[in-house]
Structures are given as C-alpha cells and as structure tokens.
C-alpha cells in the first residue's frame, strides 16, 4: 500500500494518463483515486497538459475523413442519410469562395442564356420573315417560269392590238395558243376608262363579234381572258359600265389580227 505522496512521486499517474499501464495497474491506481480524491485533481492537471501538447502538435486530417466517419456511423446505426463527402467542415475554407464562384458563374450563364434566348427569338423571327419572303419569291418565279414557258412555246403567238384613230398611242399584247387553247393578256396601255364606262373585249368569229368579257384593270394584274377557237381578231371597245351585248364600233380603241 502506497501513501498519497508515494503515488505522486512514482509517476504512476503520468503513466496512467499516457496509457502505459496494464489493466491490473490501472485497477490498482483507480482504487487510490477513490481513496485520495485529490489525486484526481492532479490526474486532471496532467491530462490538461497532455491535451495541450496534442493540440500544439495537431495535424489537419484529410478533408474527406469526416464524411466517411459519419457515413459509416449512419450505416451502423441504420440511418440511410449519407454525408456528402465533398461538403465536410474541413473543406469549408473553400466553400465560400466556391459558392461565390458558383454564383457568379450561374449569373454569367443566366445572363448568357437570356441574351442568347433573346438572340434566338430575334433570329427565329427574322428567319420566319425570310422564309415567307423566299416562299413568295419562289411562287412568283414559278409563275414567271410557267408564263415564260407559255410565251416561248412555239405554238404561242403574240397578238398585237394597235391603237385606232380614236386612241393612236394605245396598244395591247395578248399571247394566243391554239393548241393549248390558252389566251393571256400581258400588256396594255389603254387610258383609264372614264367614270360609268368600261372596256370590253370582243372576238371576231366568222364575221360575228363575240363577247369575251369586261376588262378590269383596277388591280395591277392583267385581266384574265378566255380562249376562243376560230377567232380571227381581237377588239376592245369602250362600253357602258357592266358591258354591252353588241360592240359600239365607234368606240373601238385597239384591235389586232390572230394569224
């Protein structure tokens, strides 16, 4: 049996704190702690000293260890929530700058996104306009090509209607295809019809003037005209609005022969 002083001088408490004792020695010293409670204070002082040494010589562990520990403990205790290995305290020193960089990147990408979205919508709108224009141009070209094909067809002849003494400067051009049986008016410089009057086209068939319809120049397109088999000439007279059953030959403005 040792005295209190002997214990203090033996260095046993230091060895106890340092973990250098075997279980029997530990049990024996612990019995002394019960007997001399002030030895506990001494032990606590040694512990504090050793703790300070450990803290003085601390080394920062690798950053992912904490999450691994928490995950292992969660697994052992049946908790399924897993710690994100990348976001442990030890990586906190990078968290703030990372978040800042992330936020800035997000803002930049957000700006770029909306900027590009706006550009996209503008381009889409421009494209639609161009596409429509292109369609229209194609439609016109097709129409023109068909027209050119019609005009260049060897069976198509140009019928030139010349101005009479009534209107010597007037003229008109009609294309006439007896094989295809198609007629097309392509030029006219008749003066505008006076109010209450209208131009009317007539075909000469076997000496009879046959009505080919009223010529409406109100829109920019040339009027559509019918084909008449056996017509030998085309004639335009100025008639009352709505047209006449018989031509007023005194009002013949232009005429031309179909050869």
């Amino acid at each position: 049996m040792m005295s209190r002083e002997e214990i203090l001088e033996s260095g046993l408490i230091e060895q106890y704190v340092l973990g250098l004792m075997n279980p029997d020695e530990i049990a024996e010293l612990e019995s002394y702690f019960e007997r001399f409670p002030d030895l506990i204070e001494y032990r606590q002082a040694i512990e504090q000293t050793m703790e300070k040494i450990a803290f003085d010589n601390a080394i920062e562990p690798p950053p992912d260890v904490k999450a691994k520990i928490m995950n292992e403990i969660n697994t052992l205790s049946g908790i399924t929530t897993q710690f994100d290995i990348k976001t442990t305290k030890n990586s906190n020193r990078w968290l703030t700058p990372l978040l800042a960089v992330g936020a800035l990147t997000a803002i930049l990408f957000g700006y770029l996104y909306f900027d590009m979205l706006s550009s996209y919508h503008n381009l889409k709108s421009d494209y639609s306009t161009l596409f429509a224009n292109c369609e229209e141009a194609n439609r016109i070209i097709e129409k023109q090509e068909a027209h050119m094909a019609f005009i260049n067809n060897p069976n198509t002849q140009a019928v030139i209607l010349s101005g009479t003494a009534l209107s010597p400067n007037s003229s008109m051009l009609v294309h006439w295809n007896k094989v295809e049986q198609i007629a097309s008016m392509n030029f006219s410089n008749l003066p505008p019809a006076p109010a209450g009057k209208t131009y009317q086209l007539w075909a000469d068939i076997d000496g009879e003037m046959v009505d080919m319809g009223i010529l409406n120049f109100e829109n920019n397109d040339m009027p559509q005209i019918p084909f008449m088999a056996n017509a030998t000439s085309l004639n335009v007279t100025l008639e009352k609005a709505g047209g006449a059953d018989h031509p007023d030959v005194s009002q013949l403005f232009v005429n031309g022969l179909i050869i």
């Binding site: 702690f33 512990e47 504090q48 040494i53 450990a54 010589n57 601390a58």
Partner: protein, 192 residues
Amino acid sequence: MSNQHKIKPNTSFDIERLYDDYSHALYGVIARIIKDEFLAAEVLQDTFVKIWKYQDRYQNNKSSLFTWMMHIAKNTAINAYHSKANKYSKNTAGISDLHENSGLRVASINTDTLDLKNSLSKIDDKYREIIELIYLRGYTHKDAARYLMLPIGTVKSRIKIGIRELRSIYTAKPAVTGTIISLLLSINFFTI
C-alpha cells in the same frame, strides 16, 4: 449485409462536434505513428467509429474525454501499424524496427523531423525526446527505454519530470491559451 447488426449506443456523443474539435489533435498522433497518409486517415476513421461505438464505456470519473479518445486513437494506430508491419515485413521504418535503428540515436529525432511546436521544445531535450516518443509516436516505455538505451526506471522518471515541466510552462504562461485561441480565431477568420 443481409443480417446487418444495428448499433445504437445508450448515450449519444455528438460525433460531428467531437470530430470538429478533436480530430486534428488525435490525427497529430496518428499521423506520427502511421506515416502512410491513406492508412492514417483510415485509422482516424476507425478511431471515431470506435469512439461512437464504445461511448457508453467512457467513464468521466476515470479520465477526461480527450484522454480516453487519445488512448483509442493511439491503440488503433499501433495495432494498424503492427498489422501493416506484419503484412509488409520490414519495408517500413518505425516501432518494430527499433533494434535495427538502434544506431540511430536520439539526435535524429529532433524538433525538425517531428515538426514539434512551442512548449515541448522548451523543455530539456532529455525529457522532450521521451515525451515525443511515448506520447506523440506511440512508443511504450519499454520501447523508448530500448531506443534511448536507458533503464526503464529512468524513462518513467523522465516522463514524470518532463510532464511537470511542461505543466509549469503552461500554468506559468496562461498567455499560451490566449495565443492558441487567437491563433484559432485567426485561422477561422481566414476560413470564413
């Protein structure tokens, strides 16, 4: 895994908090025993899992929590060291190679190689080297005695005197605590 044993200790340590507060202090010792950083990290992990698993075995009337945790850390590290040493034979230097290193005298374990800081370097070398070996590098007093070629009684005596000297340095300079706190605060300042 089919019949996984669920462990739920009665008491509940806040392991996350303990890790934040103590992991670096425990790792300081672990990393000095286990040079391989990967293995040292595994030992730290095992240490905290054991702390959590065996928390109901901790008795606060027998030791401080830190002392208890340090014993777990040190024992885990030493066991890991020995199993590694057995596995890889003689390729690693350390505790089990003491005999071969007997020519390597104390001078080689200086403050530079151990990266020791402040208080420990302020006490006499003959005390410092023993505390380094035993407290920070996991030597038993028998290992230390053999390594330093000293009688075991002398080792035990120097442990006691060395610790008392350190204690007097710490108590004579309460400013040290303030320095640590301000140091921690300044570290925090940079980490926030």
